[in-house]
Amino acid sequence: MKPHSGELLVHTSPFDSARLTTPRLMIEVNLVLLPVILAATWYFGFGALLIVAAATAGAVLTEWGFAPRRAGQGRGATLADGSGVLTGILLGLTLPPGVPLWMAFVGGVAAIGLGKLPWGGLGGNPFNPALVGRAFLQAAFPVAMTTWNPQGGFAQWTELRGTPLAPPFLGSEVDAITTATPLSRMKFDGDVEALSSLFTGNIPGSLGETSALVLILCGGWMALRRLFDWRVPVSLLLTVILLSGLFHLIDETLCPNPLVMLTSGGLLFGAVFMATDPATSPAVPKAAFIFGAGIGAIVVLIRLFGGLPEGVMYAILLMNAAVPLIERVTQPRVFGR
C-alpha cells in the first residue's frame, strides 16, 4: 500500500449524507410521470406527447434564459436540478387534449416566468409553478382550456385531437367533436359516470388526470420511495372521502358516491403530483395534514357549491398561499419544552 503523503482536507461533520439529492429527487419524479404520459397518449393520441413537449419547451427555455444564477454558474445551470423540466411536464399533463401547442408553450413560459423565477427560483416560490401556468392559461384562453375532445383507444393514437397546430392568436375554430368531462356532466346534467371508466381513465378530461389506476400506482411508488410527504395526499384524499361521503348521505343528487368524487377530475393527479410539491407544501409534519385536509375541503366545496365543475387547481393554489400561516401555528414543540 502506497503511504499517504498528501495534504488533508478539512470538512465539517457529518461526513456522510443520505443518498437522495435534490436533482435525483426531481429526476425520479420525472420518471414516475412516464406511465402517466403513456396513459395520456393511449387515450388522447400522440398529440398528448406534443402538448407535454410544448409546455416543457416553454418551461425549460424560460429557465435557461432567465434563471437567477450563482457566481460562476453558466446559463442554464439550474436546469441540472431537473425541476424546470418537471414543471413543464406537470403543466402539460393538466391541459385539455385539444389545446393548441402554442398555448401550451405560453403556459410553460408563464409557469416558470411568473410562478418560479420572480421568487428566486427553486424553493422560493409560494405557488406551485405548474398550476400558476395553468391558471394563467385558464384566465387567458378560457374557451380552449374548457374544450374537451373525446378520448379514444390505442387504435386512434395517430389522430390529432382539436387543433394543436393552430397558429397563435389566429383563432382556433372548434371544428372537432367535443364532449364534456364527467364532472361537468355531473354538475350541469346530473349524469354520473361509471366507476369503471373513471378508474381506467376511459373518460374525457385533462391529459394526465383521467386514469385513476395509473395515478394510484404512481402515488404508491412515490410513497414507497419516499419521494413525497405521504401526509399531504393521505389527508387530502381522506378529507374528500369523508366530506363527500357526508354530503352523499345527506343528498344523493347533490353529491355522488365518494369514490366517484375521488376518481374524477384532477383530484388524484393533484393529490399525488401537485399538492406534494416540496417547495409549496409545508415542511412541518403537522402542517402537512392541515394543508392536505384544506385542499380536500376546498375541492369538495367548489365542486358541489361553486360555479365551476372542478376546483383542484384553485384549491391547491389557495392552500399554497396559506402555508406560511399554517406553519406559524404548527411549529413543532421543541424537545424538553
Binding site: 499517504h4 488533508l8 470538512h11 461526513f15 436533482p23 422560493g124 416540496p278 415542511a283 421543541v334 424538553g336
Partner: protein
C-alpha cells in the same frame, strides 16, 4: 416508544452502518511507540496542572498533572519513561495547546506496578468522587466530561436510575461493541461499584439491536443482579445522545437546558464503567482506551487498545497506514467527529475512532437551494425546524434563531445528513450558536 413496541426516541436518521468492517475484530493491544503527547486539556472541564518537570523519570500510571478545581481531572502517564518537555502540541483541531511530552522507556521496561485495589464500600460519596477524579476518569463516549462531577450526590435530586450507554449509534465505530463483548464482566463490575456507592436502585443498559452478541454477553454478565436491565433498542441515530437515550429507555424527556438528573437519571458510557472497575480493582488510572480504526482507506481496520497520548500517525501506521487516496481523517464518528488538521495530534481520552476517507466520499454534490421538503424537520431529534433556522442563519438573524430555540440544538448532524440539497445545516447552526454565545459574553 415507536409503533411496534420496540423502544426508541422520535425522529432521527438511519445512516449506513459500516460496522461489519470492524465489529468482529477482537481488541488488540497496540505496541509502544517512542514518544507520547498528553494534552492537559483532555476533557470538557479545566485543563489539568502539571506536577512533573522535564527530565523527571515517571512510571506507568504515575500522576503527571493534577485536577484544577472540581470540573477538572487528573492526568497520568500511559508509559514508563522520561518527561521530555512541558510544551505545546497539536490538538486534533489544529491549534497548539499545552501538553506533556513523554519519551518512553524500551518496551521491556513497560510493566504495570503491583495492583493496588481499593474497596469501594469503604468510601463515602465525597471520597468516592475524589477517588474517581484522582484516577482521571472521563466519559468515554466522546465528550470526555469529567465523570466524577456527575457522581456527586445532591440531597434534593438523587439519581434513581443509572443509564449505561451501549448504543454506539455512530456508523463505523465498534469500540463500545467490542468492550461489551469482551469485557462484559468488567462493565458489570463498574456498574455495581457505581450503583452501590450512589445507592441507585435501577440500572438500564441500552444497546442497539445490531449488536446481539453484546446484548447476550451483557445479559450473561449481569445475570442474577436484579437491579440491572439490559434493553435492546431499535437502531437509529442519534440514540446514544444522552437525552435521546433517556427518552428511549425511560420514556421521559429531560427539560430543555437541564441535566438528566432532573428526571433522576445518570448516564454513563460502557467504557467509563470499565475504567471505574479498573481504577478500584487494580488501582489503574485511565491511561488507555479502545479505539476503532476504520474507514474505506485504512490498511488494516482494527480495534486497538491505545495508550492515551499516542500520536495518531503512529496508530494509523500500526493499522497498515493510510493509502494514497486518503483525503480526510476523522477523530470520532462520521456524524459528529472532528476532522483532523494534523496527524501529529495524539489520541485523547475521548477518542473513540479514527476514520480515513477518500476524496469521493467527501466531495459533496453541489449545494442546491432549500426545497422546504421538511426532511430535516423529520430528522431533528430535538424537534427544531432546521429549514427555518437555515433561512435565518443565512441572513444572520441570530436573535430570531435564539427565539426558535437554536441553543437547544445538540449538533448531531441529522439535518445535514437528511438534506437532499446538501445544505451544511448543522455548520450554519454551529456558527450562529457561537456568534450568539459571543454576543452574550461581549
Amino acid at each position: 416508544m415507536s409503533f411496534f413496541g420496540a423502544r426508541s426516541f422520535r425522529h432521527g436518521v438511519h445512516p449506513e452502518e459500516h460496522k461489519d468492517q470492524t465489529a468482529h475484530l477482537e481488541t488488540e493491544r497496540m505496541a509502544f511507540v517512542p514518544r507520547y503527547e498528553l494534552l492537559l486539556g483532555q476533557h470538557g472541564g479545566k485543563p489539568s496542572v502539571p506536577v512533573v518537570h522535564p527530565g523527571q523519570k515517571v512510571v506507568r500510571g504515575q500522576l503527571l498533572a493534577r485536577a484544577d478545581g472540581f470540573v477538572s481531572t487528573s492526568l497520568h502517564s500511559p508509559v514508563s519513561g522520561t518527561v521530555r518537555s512541558l510544551d505545546r502540541c497539536r490538538h486534533p483541531n489544529g491549534s497548539l495547546v499545552p501538553a506533556i511530552e513523554i519519551e518512553a522507556d524500551p518496551f521491556s521496561a513497560q510493566t504495570w506496578p503491583e495492583p493496588k485495589p481499593t474497596d469501594p464500600s469503604t468510601l463515602d460519596n465525597d471520597q468516592f468522587v475524589e477517588f474517581v477524579q484522582s484516577m482521571g476518569i472521563v466519559g468515554m463516549g466522546g465528550a470526555a466530561f469529567p465523570a466524577h462531577v456527575k457522581y456527586k450526590l445532591s440531597p434534593d435530586k438523587p439519581a434513581q436510575k443509572l443509564i449505561i450507554n451501549g448504543c454506539e449509534c455512530e456508523p463505523y465505530l465498534t469500540c463500545d461493541h467490542r468492550v461489551m463483548v469482551e469485557f462484559a464482566e468488567r462493565v458489570v463490575r463498574g456498574i455495581r461499584i457505581l450503583a452501590d456507592n450512589l445507592r441507585i436502585p435501577e440500572v438500564h443498559v441500552g444497546i442497539e439491536k445490531n449488536k446481539p452478541d453484546a446484548v447476550a454477553a451483557m445479559r450473561e454478565a449481569a445475570r442474577g443482579d436484579e437491579r440491572i436491565r439490559i434493553v435492546d433498542l431499535v437502531v437509529k441515530y442519534p440514540q446514544g445522545a444522552e437525552k435521546m437515550l433517556i427518552k428511549a429507555l425511560l420514556g421521559e424527556e429531560v427539560p430543555a437546558g437541564r441535566l438528566p438528573l432532573e428526571v433522576g437519571a445518570l448516564v454513563n458510557n460502557v467504557g467509563t464503567m470499565v475504567a471505574i472497575a479498573d481504577a478500584f480493582d487494580l488501582g489503574r488510572p485511565l491511561v488507555e482506551r479502545v479505539v476503532t480504526i476504520a474507514g474505506p482507506n485504512v490498511g488494516r481496520p482494527s480495534n486497538l487498545i491505545v495508550p492515551i497520548g499516542t500520536p495518531v500517525r503512529d496508530v494509523l501506521d500500526t493499522c497498515g497506514g493510510l493509502n494514497a487516496e486518503t483525503r480526510e481523517v476523522v477523530m470520532g464518528g462520521p456524524m459528529m467527529g472532528q476532522p483532523m488538521i494534523s496527524l501529529d495530534a495524539p489520541v485523547l481520552k475521548g477518542t473513540s475512532g479514527l476514520l480515513a476517507f477518500p476524496q469521493t466520499q467527501l466531495d459533496r454534490a453541489a449545494e442546491y437551494t432549500c426545497l422546504k421538503c421538511g426532511r430535516c424537520v423529520e430528522a431533528c431529534p430535538a424537534f427544531l425546524n432546521p429549514s427555518k433556522l437555515v433561512r435565518l442563519a443565512k441572513v444572520r438573524r441570530y436573535e430570531e434563531m435564539e427565539q426558535a430555540y437554536v441553543m437547544d440544538c445538540m449538533e448531531c448532524g441529522s439535518c445535514s445528513y437528511a438534506c437532499p440539497s446538501n445544505i451544511p445545516i448543522v455548520q450554519l447552526i454551529r456558527v450562529s450558536k457561537s456568534s450568539l454565545r459571543g454576543k452574550k459574553r461581549g
